[in-house]
Symmetry: C2
Subunit: 218 residues, 2 copies
């Protein structure tokens, strides 16, 4: 139903994509992120620099995608895997937490690297937007035809909120951002563990999920 047979063309494309990801990350770790030019990555992956840009729109994207690659698909799968009985809100929250917690050694190393450069951090955060489409699909499946529109909204919210959580998490101390017009109370969760951050951030959305669920299952 999903994979007739991929065909050589598609397989080669995926192989190239992965080779680029891999090369980008490896080189970045070896030499430091600023000592890697796209030319190097392309060469290491055996393609022309121009082709590199057919796969990734920026140098940062390639490096970051080595970490975020299939998180999207895995989150969707993780939601789908939860029994249909549990609250949607819980299913989504746990699926997200799970996927951002099961980190391989290599992944942690990469994250360490990513935090050192603002451009990489931004690319990493932007990548969270990628979970939206698959999330939309699985949520829509649970809500049924009538809730397709709501699903999109909820998925977008989740993506935005996950981004917030990650943002807050990998902010060590350096700040001075655009927070601006706040009172005097800067005593908010400085930086807990990632799972906690994620759960806390997603919690306020739960009522929206519950309401949506209630509407389509009388």
């Amino acid at each position: 139903m999903t994979t007739p047979p991929p065909g050589l063309r598609e397989r080669k494309k995926q192989a190239t994509r992965e080779a680029l990801r891999e090369a980008a990350l490896r080189l970045a770790v070896e030499r430091g992120p600023d000592q890697v030019r796209v030319e190097d990555i392309a060469e290491a992956a055996g393609v022309s620099p121009r082709t590199y840009n057919n796969y990734f729109a920026s140098r940062e994207q390639a490096i970051v995608s080595a970490v975020t690659a299939d998180r999207e698909a895995r989150i969707a799968a993780a939601v789908a895997a939860r029994p249909a009985g549990v609250h949607l809100a819980d299913a989504v929250t746990e699926a997200v937490v799970e996927q951002y917690t099961n980190t391989s050694e290599r992944e942690r190393e990469a994250l360490l690297l990513i935090t050192t450069r603002t451009a990489l951090r931004d690319a990493f955060l932007d990548a969270t937007a990628g979970i939206e489409p698959p999330l939309t699909a699985v949520i829509a499946e649970r809500l049924g035809e009538a809730g397709a529109h709501t699903a999109r909204v909820l998925a977008a919210s989740v993506a935005a909120v996950v981004r917030i959580a990650l943002e807050g998490w990998l902010r060590p101390a350096g700040n001075a951002g655009a927070a601006g017009s706040f009172g005097a109370g800067g005593l908010l969760v400085p930086s807990g563990s990632l799972p906690d951050q994620l759960r806390a951030a997603l919690a306020p959305l739960a009522p929206a999920f519950d309401a949506a669920e209630r509407r389509t299952r009388p």
Copy 2:
């Protein structure tokens, strides 16, 4: 409490910023967006091309910001203006609708231009993220100290959802996006009026607002 006296330095900076915005939009309208180089904009505003990039990170940003400039501040103000009695959800929804509906003639002309180029469309959509910080501030004000964290989450969700609505709105027909794995039902709201789109998109978030409001006002 907010503006001691701006000082010459700051005023000059704002003037330059506005000059650049203005020049960018004007030239883009006159000649078409692709016939405007950064050099032209900078020259028209009386600064060096290098300085241009100290104000805007991309050519598109300058053009788009002529439209989105102070929407951020206005939305926050519009929320704050609503009487404290009304539901937060309603206050936010109406404030947003209001700000995206009061369009000047020049603004509509610009939007027409923006829709013609993908890069501009993307920049325009990205700009909606700018409403998040001020929204966070006003929502936090209504929720009180304890809800500061929730405010951030809700604001981010609103921003994400507004983006969705705009996206759906200025998509004429061309699509083939990354929607991907959907069943067979592609019969979702093709493209209503903008206010309707916004209201419909924000509706599913209402329960989250209500719950937040209930938690901090027993």
